[in-house]
């Protein structure tokens, strides 16, 4: 007998879940229906900048032909879910259809956070989340013109780097005193700031957005910062974080976390035993992650339960990331902020050359807990794998230091 699994959301995590269930479901127990609000099947959201700069949408797609033709899978992009009726166990779609489920996984993702400052909705105010957002951005971007990106985190810097590639002159406005406060320490952020400034971005850290000012015909003309400075801009891109999309919770009477997101336990279960939540919309034990890797972990945890074993839990507090932002490599892994009690930090940096490496170590001796790399991240994968282990020797070559370079004279 076949049960129906409905997945609401066809983003990266929803797709990962389908793949994981299909890979493990040899007897064919589950028939899977995937509802996606966006008109496109799942695509690689981390490659949106590449799309903006010319890569085709089909290249971004994650969905294989095999999945399209899988008789047990029904993929329905362009179909939104409006309500979940837990009593009747049906999902009502935007076109009024009802889809019954035996198991339901919420993978609705997140929406960009737009601060409600005066003028935030003027024409020319944009976000950076979907292929449609990129199309809109491309239509609005005028080469040679200044632009403002709100948010100096991962997404904001990626957006600013892409705008620069399009020939715009981006300002970056970050409320925290440094770039990427979630991932980097002040030292790594300084190196990043120096290098992105040299590459043409203009940074305004430690200040918020006060208003979006009017330009011609009601469009964006620029912004005023909290400190009073005025920046001219033809477009404003909001890339200051996301908020979980938990709108379905109210109608379905499912609990949400205080700061949003479907509240789930370490197995990603809501309080309804037939309903799970994964990815950006899930608040696992109260916490939302907003990164794709933890989302993949959640999908694996749920797949495990749907396939029977169900012993795995989500322990993925590992927020390790390695990125190239606006042309500068940065990475952070493990306990990057040295929050472990009794931990200590070792830093090796060449600020003028633009490299910075910090290791966080524990207790007596030198067990690696985490670190931050900026300017040169070639050691990332090795260091990441060494977390929790005593360093056999200081991995000089992995810390962005090239001895030959220093001694060249």
């Amino acid at each position: 007998m076949t049960d129906t699994l409905v997945i609401i959301g066809f983003g990266m995590v929803g797709h990962r879940l389908v793949e994981a269930v299909r890979a493990g479901d040899r007897p064919g127990r589950w028939r899977i229906v995937v509802l996606g609000e966006e008109p496109h099947p799942a695509y690689d959201r981390t490659a949106l900048s590449a799309y903006l700069l010319g890569r085709s949408g089909s290249e971004l797609s994650l969905v294989s032909d095999a999945l399209w033709h899988d008789p047990l899978v029904q993929l329905r992009p362009g179909t939104s879910a409006v309500t979940v009726d837990r009593v009747r166990r049906v999902v009502v779609t935007g076109d009024g259809a009802e889809i019954g489920y035996d198991a339901l996984v919420l993978a609705t993702g997140a929406r960009p956070f737009v601060p409600l400052v005066p003028g935030h909705d003027r024409p020319g105010c944009l976000v950076y989340r979907t292929i449609e957002d990129m199309d809109a951005l491309r239509a609005e971007a005028r080469s040679g013109h200044p632009a403002v990106v709100v948010g100096g985190g991962l997404l904001g810097l990626e957006a600013a780097g892409a705008l620069r590639e399009l020939g715009l002159r981006p300002h970056v406005v970050e409320a925290a005193p440094q770039l990427m406060p979630a991932q980097l320490d002040p030292g790594g952020a300084r190196v990043l700031a120096r290098r992105v400034t040299a590459s043409g971005l203009r940074l305004h850290c430690g200040t918020g957005l006060h208003t979006v000012n009017e330009g011609v015909r009601g469009r964006v003309g620029g912004v005023t910062l909290a400190g009073g400075a005025r920046l001219p801009a033809g477009i404003v891109v909001f890339a200051a974080g996301v908020r979980p999309r938990d709108d379905l919770a109210a109608g379905a009477e499912l609990p949400v976390a205080p700061r949003g997101g479907f509240l789930v336990d370490a197995r990603c279960r809501t309080r309804d035993p037939r309903i799970w939540a994964v990815g950006d919309c899930a608040a696992v034990e109260g916490r939302c992650y907003g990164l794709v890797n933890p989302g993949y972990r959640m999908a694996d945890v749920v797949a495990d339960q749907l396939l029977g074993a169900g012993r795995r839990t989500f322990t993925g507090t590992d927020m390790s990331t390695k990125l190239k932002l606006a042309g500068v490599e940065v990475a952070s892994f493990g306990d990057a902020h040295a929050v472990t009690a009794g931990s200590y930090e070792f830093v090796q940096a060449d600020p003028a050359a633009g490299t910075y490496a910090k290791l966080v170590l524990s207790g007596e001796g030198r067990v690696l807990l985490g670190g931050v790399l900026a300017g040169d991240t070639s050691g990332y994968a090795t260091l990441r794998a060494l977390i929790g282990r005593p360093l056999p020797a200081l991995p000089e070559a992995l810390l962005g230091r090239r001895p030959g370079l220093n001694h060249a004279r």
């Binding site: 030292g187 120096r194 794709v292 890797n293 993949y296 590992d318 390790s320 390695k322 040295a338 009690a341 009794g342 931990s343 200590y344 930090e345 070792f346 830093v347 090796q348 940096a349 060449d350 600020p351 003028a352 290791l359 170590l361 001796g365 030198r366 070639s378 990332y380 994968a381 090795t382 990441r384 794998a385 060494l386 282990r389 360093l391 056999p392 020797a393 200081l394 991995p395 000089e396 992995l398 230091r401 001895p403 220093n406 001694h407 004279r409």
Partner: protein, 484 residues
């Protein structure tokens, strides 16, 4: 022309061709010079004139006398050879350079062939109303910590130390060990700001407070009277005893009056000559290069000058500036004159260790692997080793973390253990990647099919390739060994 007809009551004319050397100041530098001259067998007469009444002693140990961990006599320097005439309590008041004679406060005159100024430094007395009495002497209850006399037993009651430089910190900790109630007043936001960076300063502050020293920071003293030190902001601290630890000034009065070139100290060249080639200067009063030397430098200078005066061809090289806090429980050092610069500069590498939980901190600036400046706190091994390398301008060892921690350096190349997770997205261990390689997976597509490694974020690809490289480097060696 010598003596120019003046009476020379006690002085002797130089009869020996080597001539008489008169050393002014019987502090450690003057003492050392005379002792060295004697040892090198200086053939002529020499004479030491000391302004203090006691024989010379090791000034660096004065805090230990305050603490009473050392009795005053223990500071005495080894006695000088009996053949060297020494006059205590004899202050030189004037140098007659054309006549080559010095005059003393007890009415004597001493001709010289060579004159050596070793007048040392005097405590800097801040201009605070009430610190001095009508006669210009320090008011009752106010002392400096510069002479043995000033370190006699302190009256009962709380002690206030003005200035948290290196001496103020040493003195405050020494007095606490004796159970005295101590308050330190400091103008700057953390102690020893001339030598430590903020992070080390915070650790030192924590240590002082933990030891029971009351520390008042960012406070200026505005007046003293009735056993109270008044602070800006309107507060005051009980200071029945007030110890001034507000720095020292080279004592250049004599040299200046004699028309010698004077900067911050008496200016000397690399032969320790002043602007008058017959007059030398050593120790705290001398300025060699840009800076007035501290402590250890005085001994070096005395040694060099002794060699020169005995006909040798030595040159004095200003040592690289090293300042170390002397305290039995605490190690702190500053190499290179001040907190390591933080502004990025081409070719300057920065190395930092931050360990507030264990009270350890290091911040080093390196050029070509050699220290140009460093602040070290709570790292006794690293302080000793770094000072040595810095002084000799040698590069740091490669394993800098081990160097700072004072542990043996690691020598193994970095090799991941078998159970280390390489592909984080799919939880694939190094062991699985190695097994797959032995089964023939030699490219990413093959590996992905076998293990899913590399199919997530892709960040592990470089590490996978590194593992493969190691495996293929080893494989031919092994088969080669098995071949015959």
């Amino acid at each position: 022309m010598r003596g120019a007809g003046r009476p020379v009551p006690a002085g002797r004319c130089a009869v020996n061709p080597a001539g008489e050397i008169v050393v002014v100041g019987a502090g450690p530098a003057g003492h050392r010079l005379v002792e060295r001259l004697h040892r090198h067998g200086y053939p002529g007469p020499m004479r030491l004139l000391g302004a203090e009444l006691e024989p010379p002693y090791n000034r660096m140990l004065l805090p230990s006398v305050l603490e009473r961990s050392l009795p005053a006599p223990a500071l005495a320097l080894p006695p000088l050879p009996r053949s060297v005439p020494v006059r205590w309590g004899s202050r030189v008041t004037r140098i007659d350079r054309p006549a080559r004679v010095v005059y003393t406060s007890d009415g004597r005159a001493y001709p010289y062939h060579r004159l050596v100024l070793a007048t040392g430094a005097r405590p800097r007395i801040p201009r605070i109303p009430g610190l001095r009495d009508a006669g210009g002497r320090l008011a009752a209850g106010v002392r400096t910590v510069r002479t043995l006399a000033s370190c006699r037993e302190l009256p009962i009651g709380p002690v206030t130390v003005l200035g948290a430089g290196i001496l103020g910190v040493e003195v405050a900790l020494a007095l606490r060990r004796r159970g005295r109630e101590v308050t330190v007043v400091h103008r700057h936001p953390y102690p020893m700001e001339r030598h430590l960076d903020a992070a080390a300063g915070e650790l030192l502050l924590g240590h002082l407070r933990e030891r029971g020293v009351s520390v008042r920071l960012s406070q200026r003293a505005t007046g003293y009277g009735a056993g109270q030190l008044l602070l800006d902001g309107g507060t005051s601290v009980a200071a029945g005893t007030l110890l001034l630890c507000t720095g020292v000034r080279p004592d250049v009065a004599l040299a200046r009056a004699a028309g010698l070139a004077v900067g911050r100290g008496v200016v000397v060249d690399d032969r320790l000559r002043t602007s008058d080639p017959r007059i030398h200067a050593v120790g705290d009063c001398a300025q060699s290069g840009a800076s007035v030397p501290t402590a250890g430098a005085a001994w070096e200078q005395a040694d060099t000058l002794a060699e020169l005066l005995c006909g040798g061809d030595a040159r004095y090289r200003s040592p690289r500036p090293v300042v170390r806090l002397k305290d039995p429980e605490l190690s702190a050092a500053c190499l290179g004159g001040g907190p390591a610069v933080r502004a990025p500069a081409a070719g300057i590498e920065q190395v930092r260790l931050t360990d507030p939980a264990r009270g350890r901190h290091a911040a080093l600036s390196l050029r070509d692997g050699r220290i140009t400046g460093a602040v070290l706190y709570g790292l006794p091994h690293a302080i000793a080793a770094a000072t040595e390398l810095y002084d000799r301008d040698l590069p740091l060892p490669t394993d800098r973390l081990a160097f700072l921690l004072g542990i043996p350096p690691g020598t193994d190349p970095v090799e991941l253990p078998e159970d280390a997770v390489v592909c984080v997205c799919n939880t694939v261990t190094k062991g699985e990647i190695v097994q797959a390689w032995h089964r023939g997976c030699r490219d990413m597509a093959g590996l992905a099919a076998a293990t899913r490694a590399g199919t997530g974020c892709g960040n592990c690809v470089s590490e996978v390739r590194r593992i493969w490289r190691t495996l293929s480097d080893r494989a031919p060696a092994r088969s080669g060994a098995e071949a015959p």
